[in-house]
């Protein structure tokens, strides 16, 4: 726990880690106050809309009983149930999500990584009253920003945390890469293959290609394209690497990433064959 990078993670990162019985450390991305406020406001809207809708229907349906005060009484009960039970109901039945949380891709889970149950949902929603003190969740906000799992008071007592969910995507996530024709590996001396780290680096540049001005993009790409280009055989290729560094890097990436999308479509019989194919250690770059 006292390893320096973990300490720094605790301060700077939006992640929290959990070691499971299978001896792997899992990372959870925590939801920050901003996103949670967004989800809260959306839920508030849904709740109010639901209250008005139910009241509108009931006041018509219960019109014959108006003199006994039944519609008003039912309104109070519905308002009460929505105020205190809305979060608990959805978080129990939608496995840690309310409509607002779902829209923002958030989920409440136990700090041990499990799904929450009725009691956790109940506790964290009843304790909103403590989080709200003295005004608009000030206590909850201060508690959340002062503990490493961003738990508000309700989360602390319930032993829960709010995490951001990602859709698990494997391959195909590099949209637009197919616009770049793969740069043939044969053009490299000794069929050089860039290391995974290098490819990762190009990938992150590729994702930012529209955020950077083209000149700056090339400027950054050149730092990597230049040494990579030295491993090319032909003079024209080397010139291409120097003159259009970003284009060159993306085409190299394209050559090595295209197969990810195809890799999972392969038939089992073929897979058995491919396993036997000699896999030489990937040469490392630099």
């Amino acid at each position: 726990m006292s390893r320096p990078e973990e300490v720094s993670n605790r301060v700077l990162s939006d992640q929290t880690f959990l070691e499971i019985p299978e001896n792997v450390r899992l990372g959870f991305r925590l939801a920050g106050p901003g996103t949670r406020l967004g989800a809260y406001l959306l839920d508030l809207g849904v709740r109010s809309a639901a209250l008005y809708a139910i009241v509108a229907v009931l006041s018509i349906a219960l019109l014959p009983f108006a003199t006994t005060g039944l519609p008003v009484g039912v309104y109070f009960v519905v308002a009460f149930v929505l105020e205190w039970g809305y979060g608990c109901f959805f978080e129990t039945w939608w496995n840690g999500q309310t409509p607002g949380k779902r829209a923002f891709g958030l989920r409440v889970i136990k700090t041990e990584g499990y799904a929450i149950g009725f009691y956790e949902a109940m506790i964290r929603n009843l304790l909103r009253a403590a989080d709200f003190v003295p005004l608009f969740y000030a206590a909850g906000f201060l508690t959340a920003i002062s503990n490493p799992r961003l738990q508000r008071i309700g989360d602390l007592v319930a032993g829960t945390m709010v995490v951001r969910e990602r859709k698990p995507i494997l391959g195909g996530e590099l949209e637009g890469l197919s616009d770049y024709p793969p740069f043939p590996q044969e053009a490299f001396r000794h069929r050089y293959r860039p290391s995974e780290k290098t490819l990762e680096l190009i990938e992150s540049l590729f994702r930012r290609r529209f955020d950077l001005p083209p000149a700056r993009l090339d400027e950054i790409a050149f730092i990597l394209a230049e040494p990579l280009g030295k491993r090319l055989d032909s003079f024209t290729d080397r010139k291409f690497a120097r003159d259009q560094p970003s284009e060159f890097l993306f085409r190299v990436l394209s050559a090595h990433r295209a197969w990810i999308e195809n890799a999972l479509e392969v038939e089992p019989a073929e897979r058995a064959g491919s396993r036997r194919r000699a896999s030489r250690p990937a040469a490392s770059f630099s």
Binding site: I20, E22, N23, V24, L26, F28, F65, T67, T68, G69, V72, G73, V74, Y75, F76, V77, F80, E83, W84, T92, W93, N95, I109, G113, Y114, A115, G117, Y119, I123, L126, L127, R128, A129, A130, V133, I153, L156, V157, A158, G159, R166, P168, I169, L170, E173, E196, K197, L199, E203, W259, I260, A263, L264, V266, P268, R271, S274, R275, S279, P281
Partner: protein, 320 residues
């Protein structure tokens, strides 16, 4: 083995795991067949190994993220219990809740003292010197109270259901706040108990001193058993929260909060159920224009019901 052949070898089993996982996570009963459960656990362990391998070789962070998230979901599905609240509500109310309260009776008595002593003291003081009531409550509130009990019930149009609904919302919200504010070392709970006790005592002393005693007592006695006891029970829940922080014992404060919080919230839920009953009595019964004798007899029976319920319900059978 490079990343490409690794993906080829393992990719399909991840996909298979994903599809099993999707079904394991889905709500509803028959989720995985017995053979599929063991297949699930096998795939899960292999997946964990894959994740460790991807990390140690520093392959692609997108792949790492994918496997990490798959393991996260698998871990939750495999080890996490699923909520199964069906049929538990009844068992909780008939046995679980009174048992919980008796297990924590110390908190109940403290909470009772914090509520009842100021109630009695302010009642007696205000009964002797009614002008003191103005020190506690604003004049308009006192005027409204006096006004309310100076007329017979049943005059004009009664709105029993509306009142019952109002009491459900109002009283239970106070009880929940009384409970939740216990997180602040119990101070919030103590404040709510004291101030409610003082206000209630003041109003009682004042209204009776103005000569509306019969109507006032006739109104409040019916629901008093459920309502006052429930407030004290919610207070006990709040005190448990505060106590968990102040005196966590051998646990860390976070652990103590989690463990005691579960107990505390059960008391709050039981209190909410009692307040629902109280609100129904208050709305539909308390304002009935009946002689005081009938009302006090009912009130006595209800007090016995409450005491018997909290004191006796859910006891283990005596060993014969």
């Amino acid at each position: 083995m490079n990343k490409q052949s690794f993906l080829r070898d393992r990719g399909l089993s991840w996909k298979r795991f994903e599809s099993l996982l999707g079904r394991a996570e889905a709500p509803g009963k028959p989720r995985l067949a017995p053979e599929e459960v063991s297949e699930f656990s096998e795939l899960f362990r292999a997946l964990c190994y894959d994740l460790a391998q991807v990390r140690s070789r520093d392959w692609s962070s997108s792949l790492e993220r994918y496997l990490n998230d798959l393991v996260v979901r698998g871990h939750g599905a495999f080890y996490g219990g699923r909520p199964r609240p069906r049929g538990q509500a009844l068992r909780f109310l008939s046995a679980g809740f009174p048992r919980r309260l008796r297990e924590n009776h110390g908190f109940f008595w403290v909470s009772l003292a914090l509520f009842a002593i100021p109630l009695v003291v302010s009642w007696v003081v205000v009964a002797m010197e009614p002008s003191l009531a103005h020190r506690v409550l604003p004049g308009t509130t006192l005027y409204n109270m006096e006004e309310m009990y100076s007329r017979d019930f049943g005059e004009g149009e009664r709105q029993d259901a509306a009142m019952a609904g109002f009491y459900v919302r109002h009283n239970t919200s106070i009880a929940f706040q009384c409970f939740a504010l216990g997180f602040f070392l119990g101070i919030g709970t103590i404040y709510v108990l004291l101030s409610n006790g003082i206000q209630l005592g003041t109003v009682s002393g004042y209204v009776i001193a103005q000569g509306h005693g019969e109507r006032f007592l006739g109104f409040v006695c019916g629901h008093s058993s459920f309502e006052l006891t429930a407030i004290v029970v919610a207070g006990a829940g709040g005190l448990i929260l505060g106590h968990a922080i102040l005196a966590p014992g051998s646990l860390s404060r976070a652990e103590a909060l989690k463990e005691r919080g579960r107990v505390a919230v059960e008391l709050a839920l039981g209190a909410a159920a009692m307040l629902f009953v109280a609100a129904m009595i208050e709305g539909f019964w308390s304002a009935q224009p009946l002689p005081l004798g009938v009302k006090s007899l009912t009130a006595a029976i209800l007090w016995i019901v409450v005491i018997a319920y909290l004191g006796l319900a859910g006891r283990e059978g005596r060993p014969s």
